[in-house]
Amino acid sequence: MQFLQALVDGVLIGGVYGVISIGLSLVFGVMNIVNFAHAAFLMLGMFVAWFAWHYLGLDPLLGAFLSFAVIFVFGCGVQRTLIRPILKAPQVAQIFLTVGILIVLENAALLVFGADFRSVQTPYQTSAFDIGGIIVSKPYLYAFAMALLSGAAVWAFLERTPIGRAMRATSQDPMAATLMGIDTNLMHMTAFGIGVGLTAFGGAVILPYLTASPTVGAHYVVLMFTAVVLGGLGSVAGAVVGGVAVGIIQSLSTLVFPIQLQNLILFVVFILVLALRPEGIVKRRAA
């Protein structure tokens, strides 16, 4: 029973980790960049949804679409002005550029929004379904459902639309894609926009149970990377699997170990998985 409860909790929380990680994985897959600033876009998405709730009375689950739209546009701008010039630069330079973006975004948020902790009040955030003694938290369940929905949408976009196919082509072989007449610059920009927009969407759907503040993203940086690497860098489906895996490991570990060591267990599993299966749990499909 206890085990089942922990498993359910882990899957629910993990689904959300999965969605905020899809964007990171997508950016990596298409541009081969490790984006440390990604968590800052999660924070921005939370703020957009909070303002939509505060001024328009929009539930964050719906505000999430607005978060996606706003941050998509913003992300395209960031990619165009800051990321594009260093796409061919050494890997370390790319990492530190994104660290710089993280510092700038965090402190810009502090300057513009202030340091208050902002949270929303919704009718469902303090209630749960009781299914045969298993408690299923409503905000977690809704966030999980929205997360899967957006994950499926991205998957369909990549698989079924011409732009999605062009984007995948770009990620697999930029040179060939260029020869085929694909505008790889445009693809990079769109992929980055969708990637950070999706993370912003994820930020919005978790707002009913979390609090927005300029530094909230910091708590997710390592979790997101863990999810993405466990699933296999660059894979959309893998990110979801990786996210769920992270959620389950976190949740189950507390049955045996003190919760203080939750992340230690996670990191050990992470390093072991890397050592044994460097390509992640889900093997990336061959080109």
């Binding site: 902790f117 949270s119 938290s137 609090t211 708590h219 949740s251």
Partner: protein, 408 residues
């Protein structure tokens, strides 16, 4: 050789430029007729603790502006207070560097700050060696536990506050005839959480209560479900969470989701700021929390804060304001700009004028270690969007309310 010379020049240019940037405002101030008294304020203005740092700065700013409006420090010929405010960030090393900078470049007579214990301790290592008074509201037992001579803690130690969190709760429970001897302690694994939990644990053991759960959780936790699952299974009748805001809201909401109605008695920090009520709405009604001081005990003063900044005077603002009050008295009485003389006045005097009186107790007096011996913590309770002092009875503004509905 050319390479080295260029490199050296450029470095010197950086240094000179930096020094000029820092010295510029100071030089222009020197040119004025009346020399202001420079007071260093080091608080986290960025990073996770920014809100608390900004609140602290607001409290000090208010007092300094009032002093200047009333004609400055009279015994120094009406010298105004000039606050030198700097961001400690969340890194102790940076906080220490900032302290060093204030001492050498700004010639401050004292330093106030820095909210987080780790930052204050790092600063105190510098101020102690440079023989400069440091006034703080950080809780950690270590602050005044090292035998330092130049550090002054205007609040109780973390362990004292933790013990009061437990003892007061038991006293209130007794008053309303509620039995509770199975308790749970949840705390974040920071210096603040750890030292306060220590006090709680000790008080509970002395009281003979059974601690059915005693759990530290990582700072920045984003999901407390496992913790609340465990709490539900523990059979606790009371829970003492020691946490900042995000975890406070998570804990209260998740308890509600699971239909857990045992009272949660907060450990200051996240439980006593306006955002707690804003985040929980009516769920915050009746929540009890320990606090090192509360604004409703000195409304004449603290309402001036609300008028200016638009929210009630949170405890870190209040305690930093009290620290500034102590410094004003020490400057006035010693009629000196010499840090050593000012330190002696702070250490030996009783400070009971103006803003020094906003703390609990009859004015502020420090013992040999630099701890304010007059202060005592209070129990506060949420009523609407206000915090009301409900215990101890002799200072309480209202009777505590205890029921399952409002107790949590």
């Amino acid at each position: 050789m050319r390479y080295t010379r260029r490199f050296e020049t450029s470095r010197r240019a950086v240094l000179a430029g930096g020094a000029a940037a820092i010295a510029a405002p100071f030089v222009s101030r020197l040119a004025r007729a009346q020399d202001p008294v420079n007071v260093g304020v080091i608080v986290p203005l960025s990073g996770a603790n920014a809100q608390f740092g900004i609140n602290s700065r607001n409290g000090i700013q208010l007092v300094a502006d009032e002093i200047n409006a009333a004609g400055g420090i009279k015994s120094l010929g009406g010298a105004p207070i000039n606050l030198v405010i700097a961001d400690s960030t969340s890194t102790p090393t940076t906080a220490a560097s900032v302290a060093q900078r204030m001492i050498s470049q700004n010639q401050v007579v004292a330093v106030l700050g820095a909210f987080a214990s780790s930052l204050t301790i790092a600063i105190s290592e510098v101020t102690e060696r440079r023989r400069l008074p440091l006034l703080t509201m950080s809780f950690s037992d270590i602050v005044t536990g090292r035998g330092f001579n130049y550090v002054f803690q205007v609040v109780n130690k973390g362990s004292t506050i933790g013990a009061a969190q437990f003892d007061y709760t038991m006293e209130i429970a007794k008053r309303v005839d509620v039995e509770a001897d199975k308790v749970a302690i949840l705390y974040e694994d920071t210096a603040y959480g750890t030292s306060q939990a220590e006090g709680l644990r000790k008080a509970a053991t002395e009281h003979g209560a059974e601690i059915v759960m005693d759990s530290a959780y990582p700072l920045g936790i984003t999901d407390v479900t496992p913790l609340i699952n465990q709490l539900r299974g523990s059979g606790a009748q009371l829970v003492f969470p020691v946490s900042y805001l995000n975890d406070s809201l998570l804990i209260v909401r998740t308890m509600r989701q699971q239909g857990l109605t045992i009272p949660a008695i907060g450990g200051a920090a996240g439980y006593v700021i306006p955002d707690f009520h804003k985040g929980l709405g009516e769920l915050s009604e009746g929540v009890l929390s320990i606090a090192p001081a509360n604004y409703d005990l000195a409304p004449d003063y603290t309402e001036r804060f609300r008028e200016r900044f638009g929210y009630f005077m949170v405890h870190e603002a209040l305690e930093h304001a009290a620290a500034m009050g102590v410094l004003r008295e020490a400057l006035e009485k010693s009629a000196s700009r010499d840090p050593e003389t000012i330190r002696n006045e702070i250490a030996t005097g009783t400070h009971n004028e103006g803003w020094s009186t906003v703390m609990t107790g009859d004015g502020i007096r420090f013992d040999e270690s630099g701890l304010n011996v007059n202060a005592f913590p209070v129990m506060v309770q949420w009523r609407g969007s206000e915090l009301v002092t409900v215990h101890p009875a002799d200072v309480a503004r209202s009777e505590p309310v205890w029921s399952v509905e409002t107790g949590q």
